[in-house]
Symmetry: C2
Subunit: 396 residues, 2 copies
């Protein structure tokens, strides 16, 4: 009796320890990294009232008068003049407002005669004045631990004056692909029974998308003696070791027995693809033994390794959502299925379809191309009708 | 009279020349890069009939008989035996099917006695046999020029035997931020009128997200003499030069006049934020002069620089879609507006709301945090009601 997907996730979570590895890196290097602490505003922004346009700082009540220009406040300098009734200060975008002023009249609205301005088009009180704390107030929490740093979060950190940022150390994902039929990148195939390994590079790139470092280990041939030692050695260099191949029912599936030397926490799950998955624990590390078919391996990595990474890096599981199936889907297996699908945004709705997706084994890498997502087909289901609301999983 | 957004894009497109710069890079380095040619299957995959499970290769018609095991076909080796009536060959996941066989019976379905198998649970004809060309057929176009290479496309290229890939050379985005009030990362602020530059790092990271290289030039003070020379020199090192600040109505807006030394193709657009934008051409290069407020600069980069990059790198404009507004929005300006909004996927619908978005000037960087998108508020519109279907623009 295979355990269910939900049950397998429960078991997995019960074994995940917290991840407290933090490093400091330069702000210029932190695109895509995960913030390891909350970021709070140390002061109001702006700190003082600031002009949002080029114009004249005035008293609101003075708009019907000729106003004497006392001088200018270039951006970046402290105002040198106090605005009193009948006067104004030329003030630029980003300049501080002068003491005594409460409103900015844009240059477009005034006529200048000698050292005086006449306001030809009046504005509301406080026009174009950026209030103290407009962007954020002192002590406001601006970014939370677990935020994936993109362009605007990094810009905000720059504005706040940070240069050295606390981020989570990238977990290291090791990939050990096995199988006597697979040859590495750039190697010659000796006969039509051999294929090129793609799992190692697929998993490594998925891991990079999830803010991880990677170690791609040499391909492992189906060799009973070498397998356990290779596994042990690989595990030393990573936090989560992904193996591919060697876990099903074959005579040469030596990874299956090698993994069993560790504490197996999950052994087969009632899903397709990848039901032969095995997950073992080694202290705080994990070994995830995945099937050798590339589609299975990529999907299972996204379902299980990502689950661990989410916990470690404080990520929300926001990559699962609902969508409307276009066309119907007839289920072919008794398992919970994860089926590659195309996602389309149309008129405010999220649609999925299976156009161009090939039917066949889990060897079909190309089914995941072109930003494919996974449609979850429940175990107890024979057919999903057109327009069914289905669960989908985005790939990273 | 300002030109409309649509008009400005038309003008821009009329000036974009094709981008033919291609380089070859290692498959292990091409995550996120843009493919510069179509990729075609050079042969069928699989090339020969292949087993999808561990089991026995048989003739379908033989399932009710005792079948003599002739031997095994380990994965990666050429089959050594021909299956005739009354015989079978042990065959593993990924092994080639033996000549004469047409069906694979999984190990779970058979009982073994000495050198014979007895099939206890029969299967359909062709079961677990991967047909020739199941993944793809010879000459099928698998990836098109302009494909952004993610994990599965890279895995496919590995399977196809590619190691050195033709991708577009990354266009170089230069960023030249100006303003006497801005100080660089790590510099001390001398007074409360000074702020830290965030535009340069924001634009650089946006550019990285769009598969570009970046050059961040030293900050430019408001200095009339230095401006044109700095602009000329910066332009030498990049394909698109983004300047920020110095383009509005102030006395110190020297960038405005410096840019006018080039062929101005766009001078102000009827939009908010960023209506003071100027775009100039310099041979095949572009100068995009953006306002200094960070929200404006980030939004305008996404609207204009991305438009050029799309053309150069053969990208679809798939980051504009529709969504249902939650709550209403009252328009505050006479311009076409791009308003930062939160996007939520809910029950198959794409929703946007303005929760937590601060009202105020275009200085508010934090409005773009947390994966904000932009809601497009049409020019001729006073209020957008709750549940309006609005256009939105995803940021990269």
């Amino acid at each position: 009796m295979l355990i269910s997907y939900e049950e397998s996730l429960k078991i997995l979570h019960s074994h995940i320890k917290s991840y407290e590895r933090i490093e400091k890196i330069a702000l210029t290097q932190c695109l895509g990294r995960i913030l390891a602490c909350d970021i709070k505003a140390l002061k109001n922004q702006p700190e003082m009232e600031t002009s949002a346009m080029d114009g004249y700082a005035i008293k609101f009540e003075d708009q019907d008068k000729a106003l004497k220009i006392l001088g200018t406040t270039p951006a970046g300098t402290m105002p040198q003049f106090e605005v009193t009734n009948g006067t104004c200060v030329k003030t630029f975008t980003g300049s501080l407002m002068s003491l005594g002023s409460d409103t900015l009249v844009p240059v477009e609205n005034v006529r200048i005669e000698k050292d005086q301005i006449f306001i030809e088009k009046s504005v509301k009180k406080g026009f174009a004045v950026r209030k103290i704390g407009e962007n954020y107030k002192k002590d406001e929490i601006l970014l939370k631990k677990g935020t994936k740093l993109n362009y605007s979060e990094i810009a905000l950190l720059a504005e706040l004056g940070f240069f050295h940022i606390s981020v989570f150390v990238k977990p290291i994902i090791g990939v050990l692909s096995s199988g006597s039929e697979i040859k590495d990148l750039g190697e010659t195939l000796d006969n039509p029974a051999q294929i090129r390994s793609s799992n190692h590079i697929a998993i490594a790139n998925l891991a990079k998308n999830l803010a991880c470092d990677t170690r791609v280990f040499p391909l492992l041939k189906d060799d009973e003696k070498a397998t356990l030692a290779t596994l042990e050695s690989a595990l030393e260099s990573c936090d989560i070791l992904i193996t591919t191949g060697g876990v099903s029912m074959g005579d040469f599936d030596f990874l299956k027995s090698a993994v069993k030397e560790y504490e197996i926490i999950i052994d087969k799950v009632d899903i397709k693809p990848g039901r032969h998955i095995k997950i073992a624990k080694a202290n705080h590390k994990f070994i995830i033994a995945l099937p050798g078919f590339p589609y299975s391996a990529m999907v299972m990595f996204n379902l299980y390794a990502r689950e661990i990474l989410n916990s470690w890096l404080c990520q929300e599981k926001d990559y699962i959502t609902k969508a409307f199936l276009q066309g119907s889907y007839k289920k072919k297996t008794p398992y919970l299925e994860f089926v590659a699908c195309n996602v389309e945004f149309k008129e405010g709705r999220i649609l999925v379809n299976l156009e161009g997706k090939k039917e066949g084994s889990s060897a079909i890498i190309n089914n995941l191309n072109h930003k494919a997502a996974l449609m979850i087909v429940p175990k107890e289901c024979e057919i999903l009708e057109n327009e069914s609301l289905v669960d989908i999983v985005f790939m990273p």
